[in-house]
Amino acid sequence: MGNRVLVIKEENCTGCRLCELACSSSKEGIFIPERSRVKVIGDALEGWSQPTVCLQCEDPMCMAVCPAEAIFKTATEDGDPFVQVDKDKCIGCRRCSTACPFGAIIFFPKSMAVKCDLCYGAPKCVEFCFYDCLHFLELSNKASEKRNKKISALTKKACKEISDRELFRRRAIFSPVASKTSRQGHH
């Protein structure tokens, strides 16, 4: 052990979303899927679904942008790497959420960044996935290296796409407001 990652075999997902209920109830002590670290996406009309969850990137964007140095890399007792948020340091600026291309960081109550921590090595979502969709599997060093490279490439690709799309929206929505702020300084 020491190199385990969450593996999703999406073709097996039934859409039951027990993973969300298991995650939220074990982490928060109540059934509150809104605060689940694993989120199921899908389309019931088309009949597909699949869980999405933090990839525990080797070179995490969330960590790179955190101004409070609240996000850091660590490992479970068995050495499985994961990305963790230090609640005490988090200032709630949401830069990590803006930066993560995979939508893996949520915020509550109001200001705290929350993400999957692999339940420190015994993920509840896997425990309650009865149809072999979610797995917690050991990767060989070679496989791990390959995965990291692929995620890194995908992150780059996703960042480009997000920035292409977001650029215009941000310009249109926030830039005019920001300009006004500057004007107010020069009477």
């Binding site: 073709e11 039934t14 859409g15 039951c16 979303r17 027990l18 209920l21 298991a22 939220s24 109830s25 074990s26 928060e28 002590g29 109540i30 059934f31 509150i32 899927p33 809104e34 605060r35 996406i41 019931a44 009309l45 088309e46 009949g47 597909w48 309650f128 009865f130 149809y131």
Partner: protein
């Protein structure tokens, strides 16, 4: 507040476009539990006897239960309680989806909707923010498009209920859809929404549900899953879902065929049964929070309906729109299922209506002139598909069929009532009572009319060792089954896990206790079931229904099946009346089916505080 509950209802007044939170006293929740039990209490307090089911004074309720939104197996059911357009009395109809959980995440155990919007609206609820929105652009649209609209424009994870054109056009078989293919199908709940100009309602909550013992719930689920996986029934149901039922009802001789003229349909085997559906299954699907995953996505792989994809078909649809119409072409049944789901029409009642029309056509009571050119012979699926559309839109001959078999038979006369398969105006589901007599009792005394979901006697008479062709002990057997379902429907869980895992009332009590922190015994729950069923009976009596309405068409009493195990056997009206009298007696009701003062006194209804909104 008790764990597992929110202790509040949201009252939405469509006339005034206002909403307010109404607390429910804990004592009421302890006594009535939730769902069916609480619904009966609310119906009694809130729906005036003089209310027209399709008038603004009728109340439309969407209720959850204490297990909704927890991980309890299939705790994703919601129920709709309202006055029935089909029977004029009590109506509750269940479906699954996200709305019951999302209601609780928003802070409500249920929604109580009154009045009538001036123009078509849809309502959104996000925690305590309630929005009334113009729905004129959605009026006339299919349920699928409307649900997608809400998921796109309100919230992708919202719980949503929607009607299609059938509900707008006030069909007694107009249903309320959720998660596209799931339907609160029976009795015209969709018509009530339509009458209120309420096209759709979506809820998204950000809160959670506190339970007394989450660890216990986790361990119960794991135990139940292990039992389910080891159970032969569980394995078979997981593999085949409800289409497997056809392979039970056909050999038992209870598969509705040609408007209940026969109980077996040889052509079904291998074509529209477990294997027929398995052949085109592309993916297992589950309801929210349920490990059974008894649902499946199917896709037609060839022919004129190639590419058509639905979640389903379930047994009832295979029977009522298949064998009952002598249709053995599965893609046509899937097309019919798709149309019904999108038009917002109950596949059971629609199937019985078309079967009845087909029999009338073949007997010469209906001609091609009457049907507007439709050749309504058994097996003609093109005509059946066309008629479904005409019914939902109340066009041509469809406008006549939209009334349901009870009124159709009244118009025809000529003894057609003998084979108009309904009780209390609600059409029969997919089990012919002549092949297992327990269903004769179930269909006649179930408060909303002919229904298979308040008790499922084949569990004992076909899959168990109870003789299907006797009246002995049937009333008691049906009461036992009804009480078990009454409990599940008050906790608000699906009654499938109970059969497939299987789970006993003891097991359900364990979930309820882990959620609420209370200490209900199975007997406490059975007592509440007796109370609930008596209260619902009181409701129906108050609505003017009598023992005369607890009856079945002559075909069931007097005709025998041409083949199968029930060949040559007739129930006979006397036998039926004997079972019914026993049923009344065991319930503590008088010979006319009216709860006695002693029975009513036992449940101390007069000590309850009335719920007001």
């Amino acid at each position: 507040m008790l764990s597992g509950y929110k202790g509040a209802l949201l009252h939405i007044d469509l006339t005034k476009k206002t909403s307010k939170c109404v607390p429910i006293p804990e004592i009421i929740l302890r006594k009535y539990i939730g769902g069916r039990g609480l619904g009966a209490k609310l119906y009694w307090d809130l729906i005036p006897p003089e209310a027209d089911p399709l008038g603004p004074e009728n109340v439309f309720m969407v209720l959850s239960g204490p297990l909704s939104g927890t991980m309890a197996p299939c705790g994703c059911k919601h129920l709709i309680v309202t006055k029935s357009p089909a029977s004029g009395g009590w109506l509750e109809s269940y479906s699954s989806g996200l709305i019951s959980s999302e209601m609780k995440f928003s802070g409500y155990d249920g929604l109580v909707i009154t009045g009538k919007a001036e123009k078509p609206v849809y309502v959104t609820i996000k925690d305590d923010a309630v929005g009334f929105h113009d729905a004129r652009h959605l009026w006339g649209k299919g349920a699928f498009e409307v649900e997608s609209y809400l998921k796109t424009n309100f919230h992708p994870d919202c719980g949503v209920i929607t009607i299609g054109p059938a509900g707008e056009n006030l069909l007694k078989c107009g249903c309320v859809g959720s998660e596209y293919f799931r339907k609160a199908g029976r009795g015209g709940t969709g018509a009530v929404m339509g009458s209120k100009n309420l096209k759709s309602l979506a809820v998204k909550g950000s809160g959670g549900i506190a339970c007394a013992d989450i660890i216990k719930i986790h361990s119960l689920i794991k135990d139940n899953y292990r039992d389910f996986k080891e159970s032969p029934v569980g394995k078979a149901r997981h593999r085949y879902g409800t289409p497997l039922t056809l392979n039970i009802t056909h050999p038992a001789g209870m598969l509705p065929t040609r408007n209940f003229s026969a109980g077996q349909y040889e052509e079904a085997i291998g074509k529209i049964d477990k294997d027929g559906v398995a052949d085109i299954t592309i993916r297992q699907r589950a309801c929210y929070g349920c490990f059974l995953s008894c649902s499946r996505m199917t896709q037609v792989s060839e022919g004129i309906f190639e590419g058509l994809k639905i979640e389903g078909p379930e047994y009832e649809t295979l029977a009522m729109l298949g064998s009952n119409l002598a249709i053995d072409y599965l893609p046509a049944i899937i097309k019919a299922n798709y149309l019904c789901d999108d038009l917002g029409m109950d596949t059971i009642s629609a199937g019985v209506i078309i079967g009845f029309a087909m029999e009338c056509y073949e007997r010469g009571i209906l001609t091609k002139e009457d049907t507007g050119g439709l050749e309504l012979s058994f097996g003609n699926y093109e005509a059946a598909l066309e008629l479904l559309k005409l019914m939902a839109h109340r066009e041509g001959f469809g406008a006549f069929c939209a009334k349901g078999v009870k009124e159709m038979a009244r118009s025809f006369g000529q003894g057609t009532g003998d084979f108009a398969m309904h009780s209390k105006g609600l059409e029969f589901p997919g089990y012919d009572p002549r092949a297992a007599w327990g269903s004769a009792i179930t269909y006649s005394v179930t408060p909303r009319g002919a229904c298979h979901r308040r008790a499922w006697p084949p569990a004992k008479e076909v899959l168990g060792d109870v003789n299907p062709f006797t009246t002995e002990g049937k009333a008691e057997m049906v009461i036992g089954l009804m009480n078990e379902n009454s409990i599940m429907h008050s906790l608000v869980v699906c009654d499938m896990p109970g059969k497939f895992i299987p789970l006993s009332v003891d097991d359900w009590a364990a979930y309820l206790n882990a959620v609420t922190g209370l200490d209900y015994s199975d007997q406490d729950l059975f007592d509440r079931a007796e109370m609930t069923e008596t209260l619902i009976r009181r409701i129906n009596i108050r609505e003017g229904l009598t023992s005369k309405d607890d009856t079945l068409p002559v075909r069931v009493f007097e005709e025998s099946h041409p083949g199968g195990p029930s060949k040559g056997k007739v129930i006979g009206k006397d036998n039926f009346l004997k079972m019914r009298a026993e049923y009344y007696l065991l319930r503590g009701w008088d010979t006319k089916g009216v709860p006695t003062d002693e029975t009513i006194g036992k449940f101390k209804f007069d000590e309850d505080q009335a719920v007001t909104i």
